[in-house]
Symmetry: C2
Subunit: 340 residues, 2 copies
C-alpha cells in the first residue's frame, strides 16, 4: 500500500478537466487547502471584501501549438480568465499576467502573443495591471506558458453557481460546440481540412452582462472548456443533485466539426470550447434569455438544448436523434492534452 | 536591422531580475500593456475598487531544485506573493494557485509541496481560494511550476512606492542578506557546506504590519529577491531620482555566506533573499522602526545600512570597509537562473 502510494505519478489525464482532474482535486489538493470558498469548486471564487463581492479566478495556459486558427496562447489567456470571471456573474476589471519563457524563445513570437493579449484585453475592457516573467533553461519548458489571474466585481444580489440548477430549468448553449478543440486537434495532427475550423476563442463578458440585464432568473453559467459540454454538465448535475436531459438534435455543431469528429471517432460533446457558455435558467425566462444571446455576435447560433429533470439525479443523459436515450458521462482519460 | 530583430531570442538573463529583465519589460512588454497602474513598476498593483485600495500581485515560481534547505517551491510560492503584497503596505488576504505539472511527477512530492503551502498560508493568515492545474507531456516542463496571485487590502492613507525615497532617508535591511540565493546555489552545485546555509524564505506581512503601526514615515518597502539588494536599490534610486549610499561594514552577511561568496567569487549584494525586506524611511523615525523590526523573529539582525543622498542621483554607491567608495550597479547577466 505504501509502495503503491510512493510510486503514484501524475498522468496527462489529471489535467484533462475530466474524471481524473476531479479526483486529483478531491483526493490530493482538497485535504490541504480545504476552506468554505475553495470548496464551492466554481471557476471563480467570490470574496466578500469590505462589503464588495469580488470575483477572483486563475488559469494557466499551456496550449500547443501556441498559434492556431482563430487565436493564439495570448488571446486564449485573456479570454479564458475573463470568461471565468464572467461565469460568476461578475464584471471583469483587472488581470495579472505571469509568463514562463523557455530560453531561446523568439522575441518576435513573444511580441505577436503580447499584441493578441493587448487586443483581447481591449475588447474585454480589462486592464493588465501587474506581471511577472521567469525564464527557464532550454528544454525545461515548452516555449511559453502563461498564467492570467483576474479580478472582477459582482453586483449584490446576483447568485449564480454550479449548485443552483433546479428541476424544470432550461439548458442553453450559446452556439456551435467543439470548435476550439477541433481546431487545435486538426492543426496538431497536420490534417488537411484544418484551416476550415477556427477556434471560437472570445471574451464573453459583454454577453453575460446583457443576459443579466435581461433576467434575474439565471441559475448557472459555465464555459465548457476542458472536458467539453458533457463534462461541465456532469459537474453541474453532481453539485445541484439533479438530472440533465439533452436533446441531441438541438445541439449546434458546425458541419465541418461534425464531419471531422466522425472521421476521427470523437464526440463533439467532449471537445473544448473557448468562446461558448452554458446557461441554466428558469424556464419562464428561457426564451427571453435565448433571444438576448442570439442578438450578441458571439451568440448567434444559441439553442435551448435540454432541461433539468428529476430522473437520473447527478447524471446527464441524452435523447438521441434516432429516439433512444443514452447516458453522457464525464470525460474519462485525456481526449486531448494541452488544449488550453 | 530587420534580420537582427527576427533572430532575437529570450536569454536566461532576461529572467534574472537584473538589467536585461528591466530591458525586456521596458522594450518588449510595456509598448503593448502601457497603463498608469502597470507603469508604476511596483511588485504589486494598487487598484481603487469602489472606495477600497486593493493590492494585487502575481509571481510564478520555477525554482530548481524544488526542495532545498529551509523550504521548497511550495513555501516559496506562498511567501513570495504574500511578501509582494506586504511590500505595498497591504494586508494579504487571498491567494490563487496555478500549477503546471510534468507528466510523471511523483504525487508524493506534490503532497509535500502542498503541505508546505498550507503551513505557510496558515502562518501568513492568507486563504487559498481558487486554483488551476495543467499537466504537460513528459519533457515539456521541469517537474513543477507554481503561479500564485494574491489580493490584499491597503489602509487608506498609506502611500508607499519605489518612487518615494527622499534625500535624508535611512535604508534599513531586516537581516542577513544572501541566504536564499546561497542555499540554492550550494545545493545545486552539490557543494560540501550546503547544509549550513538555509534559505531565509518566510512571510513578512506581520513584520510589515508592525512597522506600519510604529510609523507613518515609511516611504519604500521592497523584498530584495531576484537580483538581490544591489538591484532593488538601483531600481529605487532610478525611480526616486536619488542617490543611495551604503556602508559596507553595516550590511549583515552571515559568516558562512560570506565565506562561500569568497570561494565562489560572488557578491552577497546580488544574491536573492526570500525573507528579508529593505525599508527606506524618514530619518526621524529610523531608530524606532529599526527597533520594531528587531523585535520580530524575522528581523532580529536588522541594520541601518545606508542613506538616501543627493550625490550620484540614480546610482547606488558604497563606502567600503577600507574606506574607499565604489559604485554598486544593477545585476548584469544572470548570476543564478531559476532562483525563485
Amino acid at each position: 500500500m505504501i509502495k503503491e502510494r510512493r510510486d503514484k505519478r501524475i498522468l496527462l489525464a489529471h489535467g484533462s478537466g475530466g474524471k481524473l482532474s476531479y479526483e486529483l482535486i478531491e483526493e490530493v489538493f482538497a485535504p490541504y487547502f480545504e476552506n468554505p470558498i475553495l470548496n464551492q469548486f466554481n471557476d471563480q471564487a467570490i470574496l466578500p471584501i469590505e462589503g464588495i463581492d469580488l470575483a477572483f479566478s486563475t488559469d494557466t495556459y499551456v496550449v500547443s501549438p501556441i498559434f492556431f486558427p482563430g487565436g493564439d496562447i495570448g488571446k486564449l489567456a485573456i479570454c479564458g480568465t475573463v470568461n471565468d470571471l464572467a461565469m460568476g456573474g461578475a464584471i471583469p476589471l483587472y488581470l495579472s499576467v505571469g509568463f514562463i519563457l523557455e530560453e531561446g524563445f523568439p522575441v518576435g513570437d513573444l511580441k505577436k502573443i503580447l499584441r493578441s493579449m493587448a487586443e483581447a484585453a481591449k475588447e474585454a475592457k480589462v486592464t493588465i495591471v501587474t506581471g511577472d516573467t521567469k525564464v527557464v533553461n532550454k528544454g525545461s519548458a515548452d516555449g511559453i506558458f502563461i498564467n492570467t489571474t483576474g479580478i472582477g466585481v459582482r453586483k449584490k444580489g446576483i447568485d449564480i453557481g454550479g449548485d443552483k440548477a433546479r428541476v424544470g430549468d432550461k439548458v442553453i448553449v450559446s452556439g456551435f460546440i467543439g470548435d476550439h478543440g477541433m481546431a487545435i486537434l486538426l492543426m496538431r495532427e497536420g490534417l488537411e481540412f484544418q484551416g476550415e475550423v477556427k477556434s471560437d476563442c472570445a471574451p464573453l463578458n459583454r454577453l453575460v452582462s446583457q443576459m443579466l440585464d435581461t433576467s434575474s432568473n439565471i441559475h448557472v453559467l459555465r464555459d465548457p472548456t476542458r472536458g467539453g459540454v458533457a463534462t461541465v454538465l456532469n459537474e453541474i448535475a453532481l453539485r445541484s443533485l439533479v438530472g440533465i436531459r439533452l436533446e441531441e438534435e438541438k445541439i449546434p455543431v458546425r458541419e465541418e466539426v461534425r464531419a471531422a469528429c466522425e472521421i476521427l471517432g470523437l464526440d463533439p460533446l467532449y471537445l473544448a470550447n473557448e468562446g461558448k457558455l452554458l446557461a441554466i435558467v428558469g424556464k419562464e425566462d428561457a426564451e427571453k434569455i435565448l433571444e438576448t444571446i442570439k442578438n450578441n455576435p458571439y451568440g448567434k447560433n444559441a439553442e435551448i438544448i435540454g432541461e433539468v429533470v428529476e430522473d437520473y439525479p447527478r447524471k446527464v443523459f441524452m435523447k438521441t436523434r434516432i429516439g433512444g436515450t443514452r447516458l453522457v458521462d464525464m470525460l474519462v482519460g485525456e481526449q486531448l492534452p494541452r488544449i488550453c
